[in-house]
Structure formats: C-alpha cells, structure tokens
C-alpha cells in the first residue's frame, strides 16, 4: 500500500470542490453547469423538437441525443483538434445510454431532445461531469424524468480506493483503475459503468459501494442548483396553480 496520501492531499473518499448551476445559458430551453476541480462542463438542452433525418424518428417516443465536446484549449496545453472523434462519439453514446433510463419522452413521439455538453477545461472525470450537468439541464428544460442521474468517477490507485480521480492520479506509476459510475439517485441503479485499468473483485465491490455516497453528494448539489433557479418560491400562501384561463 504505497499510496497512503493522495497527490492533492484529499481524503480518499473526498471529491474535488464542486460547483453546480442551472439556467446559465439563456438561449437554451434548459441548461446546467457542473464543475469538479478543474473539470468544467456546460450543458445546454434544446427541444423536444422535430427530428431530422426522419429515419431516426421513433413513432413510439422522443429520443435523446447527446453531443460531447472538449474545447481546443481545454486540455493540458496541446491543442485538442476540434471535430468528432471516436472518443467523443463514445462518450456521447454512453451519455445517451446513462440518461435515457430516467427520461420520459413518450408524450413527444418522433421528436428529439438535444443535449450539448462543452468543456472549457478538463482534468479527468469529464464524462461524469457531463452526465451530472446534462441531468441538471434536462430537469431545467422541464423534461419529464423519473429521477435524477448522478455521476462520479471512482478508482483505485496502487491498492487504495479513491473517489473522483484527477489526471495525475490516473497517470500514477502503479496499478491504477478508473471507473466512471452513473446512478439513478433514488434507486441507486447503475446506468453507466466503465473501467480502465485493473482492479480486484473485492476492491470493485468496495468502490461501487463508495460511489453511492459520492453520488449522493453530487445529487445534493444538483438539487441546490435547481432550487436556486427559483428564488422566493415556496414561501407563500396557497395559490391555485391552474388559474382560470381567458
């Protein structure tokens, strides 16, 4: 157990400082922002809207379409070439798969909800930040969802289970594993589970258990961000919501 102290001095189960916001992009139908350490995600939701090309349309339900993109200057200094890459395609796909179990678009057949996530700065854990931000944005857009999805990267560095790895930890010169996890908040069902590196079965089970706690922290921030969007609500006398129309 060589890794007794984390590189940035955090506790093993401690996440990097996080910030979450909602409604930060006025043009979008819904938007969210999620920052963990140096990883910053901006999510914008547009839709539901008409889906083209038509062969993608599903007459039973609306679909969700994610776009993940790192800005050219967002890495460690080498320019990230803009455009679609295998990596961003993969992450876009896993975002769709991790969000679609909670999203209910059955009211909007043949339509699409577009989720765009952009990163001005990254330092590991970007797909997790993307999912957490996208979920805030979807809720803000008023999309029906059965619950919130929260996401955290767990990992193991030289035998020690850590939460929310930085890039330096992922690149640590030992046996390392990086496990992005996304969970439905209430049921703790896993909607995303990927892994890089090596880990023992016992450690994997332990880290997934720890992920529940970590995701709870993310959820708290998501909730606060969405509530902060409507200041002054919830304080007043009973008002009939369905006011009589014209």
């Amino acid at each position: 157990m060589a890794y007794t102290k984390r590189l940035d001095g955090r506790k093993f189960d401690e996440l990097r400082p996080m910030v979450a916001k909602a409604g930060n992009i006025p043009n979008a139908d819904g938007s969210g922002y999620f920052k963990v350490g140096k990883t910053e995600a901006y999510a914008a939701v547009y839709g539901p809207r008409e889906l083209h090309p038509r062969f993608l349309q599903n007459p039973k339900t609306g679909i969700i379409r994610c776009h993940y993109n790192m800005m050219p200057f967002s890495g460690t200094g080498t320019r990230i070439r803009p455009g679609t890459k295998r990596r961003s395609q993969e992450i876009s796909m896993v975002m769709e798969l991790s969000l679609s179990p909670v999203v209910d678009l059955s009211q909007f057949p043949n339509s699409v909800v577009d989720v765009f996530v952009e990163f001005p700065s990254t330092d590991a854990g970007s797909r997790c930040a993307a999912i957490s931000a996208a979920c805030i944005a979807l809720a803000d857009a008023g999309i029906r969802m059965k619950d919130m999805v929260t996401s955290v990267a767990m990992g193991q560095v030289d035998g020690a289970i850590c939460a929310d790895l930085t890039y330096n930890e992922e690149a640590y010169d030992a046996i390392v594993s990086d496990i992005p996890v996304a969970m439905i908040n209430g049921s703790k069902e896993i909607t995303l589970l990927q892994m890089d590196g090596e880990i023992t079965k016992a450690d994997l089970i332990k880290s997934l258990e720890a992920a529940k706690d970590a995701c709870g922290k993310v959820h708290k921030l998501q909730q606060d961000a969405l509530e902060a969007r409507f200041p002054g609500a919830g304080t007043d006398k009973k008002v009939d919501a369905k006011e009589v129309s014209q």
Binding site: D29, D104, D140, D147, L226, E243, V244, S245
Partner: protein, 286 residues
C-alpha cells in the same frame, strides 16, 4: 406504517424527489408512486391538495390540447390548406374550410388568403396520439394577425399571464390600451400604440421572471402605474377579446356586421369551400 408529507406546499421540487411517504396520499399530476413513496416527475412547485400530491411544472414544452387557442405562424402552403408552426415539435394543419368563410375557387392561389410567415390566432380542433394537430380559425376571436407584435414566453407561465379570470391580462390591457391575445403555446400578440406595446412587453417579461412568486398582480399594477399613472377601471377597452378583424385582402370577415350573423351564415360558404376542396382532391388523383 404512518404516512407523511415530506415537502412543503409550494416548495420547489426536482425530478425524483419524494413528496410523500405512505399509502394515505395519492399521486396527482406530474407525480408517480414507487412503492411507498410519491415522487415528482418534473422540476416544479409541489402542490398539496387534500390527499393528492401534485406538481406544477415551472418550465417545459407546450403540449397541444384540443380547444386551446394558440398563435401560430404559416410555414407552408399545401394543396388545400396551410402548414403552421405551433411552437411545439409538431406543426399543425389549417384547412381552407377552417380558415375562411368565403368561397375559395378551385385552383385559387391560397397565398392570397394567408401568406407564408403570416401569424394567425387559431384554435386546436384535433390532436392525435402522434401529435398531429388540426387548427381552425372559424370561430369568434380567431383571426389573421395584421398588426402588432408577437412575442414568445415559456408556455408554463401562460396561466400567470392571464391571471385569475383574466385579471393579469385585463390589467395590462387597461393600463396600456393594447389589444392582447395570449396563446396557450406561450405566443402573445400585443397590438396598439408602439410605446405602449413596448410597455406591455416589459410587463410580460416581468411576469415571466417572477412567475413562481405570488402577489404578482399587485406588483405589475404598481409598475404600470408608475409609468402611465392611474387608469380607472372603466377605462378598459370593451369588447376587445377579438382585436382587429381580418381586414386582409382575402378574407371577407369584415363585411359581416356581427358575430352571431357570421355564425348563422357559416354553413353556406363552408359547403362551397368543401366543394372547391373536393374538386381539387379529385384533380390530384387524375
């Protein structure tokens, strides 16, 4: 097991948040039951109504419903009608026979009645499971928009725009003297003197911003009062539910002296229109 409500009335709730615990409470609009718990489906305000838990959404798309009055924009001209954009993912059909009372000859240029880009105030007559929408303009209070400005607000805020029994909209109309129509899809027509239109627009943006708070009507009244001064109740322009009429080239509505007369007479031109359309249809088949 004891039942309890876990949120305050009118509190902001997020999707998946537990609203109540136990079987004594019932899930209402935008909520669902999972085991013992009632949870929210959307971001909104919790509403405790006796034993029923509801959530009033604070944002979200407009869902077309039959009998909703909406403001839509013509986007295409078809064989026997128009395609109009409704502010939803789905466009609506406006048939010739639902658009005008007058006889439309076979092969007549429909753009003489409604041009692409025109706005109309219409009513939804039919919505299918796949959200195919039909609208009509053949009822009192439905017309082609010839002047004024059209602005867009979040559809969830429309009830606040209108207010209880039209109190809010009546207030803005009274203070600005503008004619206004609020479409259920969140599109609003303001028609009047340009400066007053600007003022009405400002008031609407204010309502939009503070829609989730209460005491809004008083607040808007104070704002309008500070700009235009006191306006007595009776100064409300009367009978403006139906602002300026379709005095456009193609429409003959303006020639009708009164609404009942229009309605009584509606049958004859409709038949004519039908025939015109049928003829077109058969021509199509050939």
């Amino acid at each position: 097991m004891s039942s309890e409500i876990t949120v305050e009335h009118r509190a902001v709730v997020i999707p998946g948040q537990v609203l109540a615990q136990g079987m004594d409470y019932l899930p209402g609009e935008e909520t669902y039951r999972e085991g013992e718990q009632i949870r929210s489906k959307v971001l909104g305000l919790a509403n405790v109504n006796g034993r029923v838990m509801k959530v009033t959404p604070l944002s979200g798309p407009y869902i077309p419903k039959v009998d909703d009055v909406i403001i839509a924009q013509v986007s295409d001209i078809l064989m026997s009608g128009w395609r109009v954009q409704t502010g939803t993912p789905y466009s609506a059909m406006l048939n010739v026979r639902d658009a005008t009372q007058r006889f439309v000859r076979k092969g007549e240029d429909l753009s003489r009645i409604l041009e692409i880009g025109d706005y109309v105030v219409g009513k939804i007559t039919n919505v299918t499971s796949q959200n195919l929408i039909d609208i009509t303009m053949k009822e009192p209070g439905l017309f082609k928009i010839n002047s004024g400005r059209v602005i867009q607000v979040a559809p969830q805020k429309v009830p606040r725009m209108i207010g209880k029994r039209g109190s809010m909209i009546g207030l803005i109309k009274r203070y600005t003297g503008c004619k206004m129509v609020v479409g259920q899809n969140g599109t609003i027509l303001i028609d009047g003197n340009a400066e007053r239109e600007e003022l009405a627009q400002k008031a609407i943006r204010m309502i939009e911003e503070f829609a989730h708070q209460s005491g809004l009507t008083e607040r808007i009244e104070d704002f309008l009062k500070s700009v235009v001064g006191e306006v007595p109740e009776t100064a409300a322009p009367s009978g403006d539910r139906r602002p300026r009429d379709n005095r456009s080239r193609g429409s003959d509505d303006s020639s009708k002296p009164s609404k009942p007369f229009v309605q009584r007479n509606a049958d004859t031109p409709t038949e004519n229109t039908d025939k015109a359309v049928d003829e077109k249809g058969s021509e199509e088949k050939k």
